[in-house]
């Protein structure tokens, strides 16, 4: 029995590896092509084999990256948004801060600021995704924005769909998109103060109101703790 199962795995494993390596090569080829065209502007990359590709470019080369990607067949615009990598000063708890203070929970030290895939040096990043229908693959682009100059070139000339996405990102994070034709608020009222998706913008409802989740915690029906904790 054990012999049979080991024989199974030996026949299966090479086939799986072969497909994975093949898909990986396709994304590597795209990355090489982007690096060849953009030169030193590509400052970071990450490939998850068979899944996705992340490319981080210099801020100055952001509009050019869109043009190059479009020339490579990545014609479908997916989305554009921002990331604030600052660990939230309010913690990442589900419980309201007011509850924690009452119960005397210790003040948590914020985690260190760590950027995600394809690296980064700054608190704020712009990220976007383009897709090639012919290749069936997408690319995630990222670019760093220094704190003292939260400004980057617009994509709305290359991809019309980026227009609204940039307006949303501008009002939510406080970025400026140079050359955008109409960078006014999209969702928020025109006189709204602050940038809601920044991590240091408090979610007031969670700060001041006791969260019912902490009160009516009841045991899950059926089974004891050890049953559900399996790997």
């Amino acid at each position: 029995m054990s012999q049979l199962s080991s024989a199974d795995t030996t026949t299966e494993t090479p086939a799986e590896e072969a497909t994975e390596v093949e898909i990986d090569e396709r994304r590597q080829a795209v990355l090489d092509e982007l690096t060849a065209r953009l030169g030193d502007a590509v400052v970071g990359s990450h490939i998850r084999p068979g899944d996705d590709l992340w490319v981080r470019v210099e801020r100055a080369a952001w509009p050019e990256a869109a043009q190059v990607a479009k020339a490579l067949g990545y014609t479908w615009f997916d989305f554009l948004s921002g990331i604030d990598w600052l660990p939230s000063p309010f913690g990442r708890d589900m419980d309201a801060q007011v509850d924690l203070q009452v119960s005397g929970a210790p003040v948590k030290e914020p985690a260190p600021l760590v950027q995600g895939y394809a690296g980064g040096d700054t608190r704020f990043q712009v990220f976007a995704r383009l897709y090639s229908i012919a290749a069936g693959m997408g690319i995630h682009f990222k670019a760093d924005l220094p704190d003292d100059e939260l400004s980057i070139g617009t994509w709305s000339r290359t991809y019309f769909g980026a227009d609204w996405h940039e307006r949303e990102t501008a009002e939510m994070f406080g970025f400026h998109f140079e050359g955008h034709p109409h960078l006014v608020k999209l969702y928020l009222p025109a006189d709204f103060q602050g940038f809601p998706l920044r991590k240091d913008f408090p979610l007031l409802a969670r700060r001041v109101r006791p969260w019912p989740g902490i009160v009516d915690v009841e045991p899950m029906p059926g089974g004891d703790e050890s049953e559900g904790e399996g790997e």
Partner: protein, 391 residues
């Protein structure tokens, strides 16, 4: 003065002369028409500011945000099972379909795969939400263009699907049924037979509507050649779903890059496209998709494997550190969730890519030069759900 600026100046003068002539001929002057926030043709609270010259639209600017709920902020203080309840409310007519890409993205980060039976039921419920969503479009679009009957038929036959969704999940509109690693429950007794019957009724409804609405001469004259979106414009705006396929782009995420966890490859079905890119094309593609979805459901109902509906996952769900993006073909178009996790109970950041947001951003482009009654045709045919724009 250089030659280019000369030419520009002449063009500007000619354009102004043209405007003046129109104004002189009809004695009209520019007018701003506010459609909405509450207007029957806007499915909720979307406001459209249209500048008109007589009956012709010079510019139309959608003003969203009357229902912005800030989901991307709210999810940062909620655990993954709690977020599942929130995302149900994005596209409220196809709620189950909203849950699936979010759960799949979390599963991808955790390295969990749902058991086959759960994958089958997921796909079936996904397609049922598509039918529930699009059949409302087919009825409502007729209603907007003056065909009252189609609306009643659609609401009558949509009930069959909603009943099946309710029987399986307990919720007609917000099932909250998908879980990381599988589903909340197995199917109730007799559900498969009932679903077969419901799908038969749906197929009959599609044929009925084909004759009643899509084949109708008045309907065709209101929609054919109206609101044409060429292929490259559609791609550049990031249109998706039937809006993109009606512009001749043969692309469906269900067929072309189906994420693991859905079993579309187990059914024999077809992706429909239309070459025209007009309002009629979009309606026609949606009608075919409803029919195709019913056929997918019928095939998958016959092949549901036995076994558990839930994989072994920890009771308290902590998603490992990493980033993942999963996009699926939802009733309104491509919908994706970009999850950044730091290994906590709550995600660090979630970017919600909803289909209607991109679909409706094309309105300023496509409405320019249209007539006011055609604006209704165009808005209706792009088919948006307000929750899917505002999130």
């Amino acid at each position: 003065m250089t030659a280019t600026s000369d030419r520009e100046q002449i063009a500007a003068l000619a354009a102004r002369a043209n405007d003046n002539r129109v104004n002189l001929d009809f004695e009209t002057e520019g007018m701003t028409l506010n459609m909405g926030p509450q207007h029957p043709a806007t499915h909720g609270t979307l406001r459209i500011v249209a500048r008109l010259d007589g009956e012709q639209v010079i510019s139309a600017e959608p003003v969203p945000g009357y229902m912005h709920r800030g989901y991307e902020k709210l999810v940062e203080v909620r655990s993954y099972p709690q977020i599942n309840t929130l995302v149900n409310r994005i596209d409220w007519l196809g709620s189950f379909a909203n849950e699936v890409p979010f759960i799949l993205a979390a599963e991808k980060l955790m390295g969990v795969e749902a058991p086959p039976r759960a994958q089958w039921i997921r796909t079936i419920l996904f397609e049922m939400s598509r039918i529930a969503n699009i059949s409302l479009f087919l009825g409502d679009y007729g209603l907007q263009l003056g065909a009252m009957t189609a609306g009643f038929y659609a609401f009558r036959d949509r009930e069959h699907v909603l009943n099946q969704i309710e029987a399986a999940t307990g919720g007609r509109f917000h099932p909250n049924f998908d879980r990381i690693g599988g589903l909340k429950d197995d199917l109730p007794k007799g559900w498969i037979t009932d679903s077969h019957r419901a799908m038969d009724k749906l197929l009959a409804f599609c044929d009925e509507l084909d004759d009643l609405l899509v084949g109708n001469e008045i309907f065709q004259s209101r929609t054919r050649g109206i609101g044409v979106i060429p292929r490259d414009i559609a791609l550049s705006y990031g249109l998706s779903g039937a809006n993109l396929r009606a512009s001749g782009v043969d692309w469906d995420l269900r067929r072309d890059s189906c994420p693991p966890g859905l079993v579309y490859d187990q059914a024999d079905w077809k992706v429909w496209t239309h070459p025209d890119g007009d309002c009629f094309g979009r309606t026609w593609v949606r009608l075919q998709e409803t029919r195709e979805a019913a056929l997918i459901v019928k095939q998958l109902l016959d092949t549901i494997p036995s076994g558990p509906v839930m994989a072994k996952v920890p009771r308290i769900i902590k998603v490992p550190e990493g980033e993942a993006y999963v996009e699926t073909e939802n009733p309104l178009g491509a919908m994706g969730y970009y999850i950044i996790s730091k290994g906590d109970l709550v995600p660090f950041r979630v970017k919600i890519r909803s289909a209607s947001f991109n679909n409706i951003s094309v309105v300023p482009w496509v409405a320019r030069g249209a007539y006011v009654p055609d604006l209704i045709s165009i808005l209706g045919s792009l088919y948006f759900i307000l929750g899917d724009i505002d999130r």
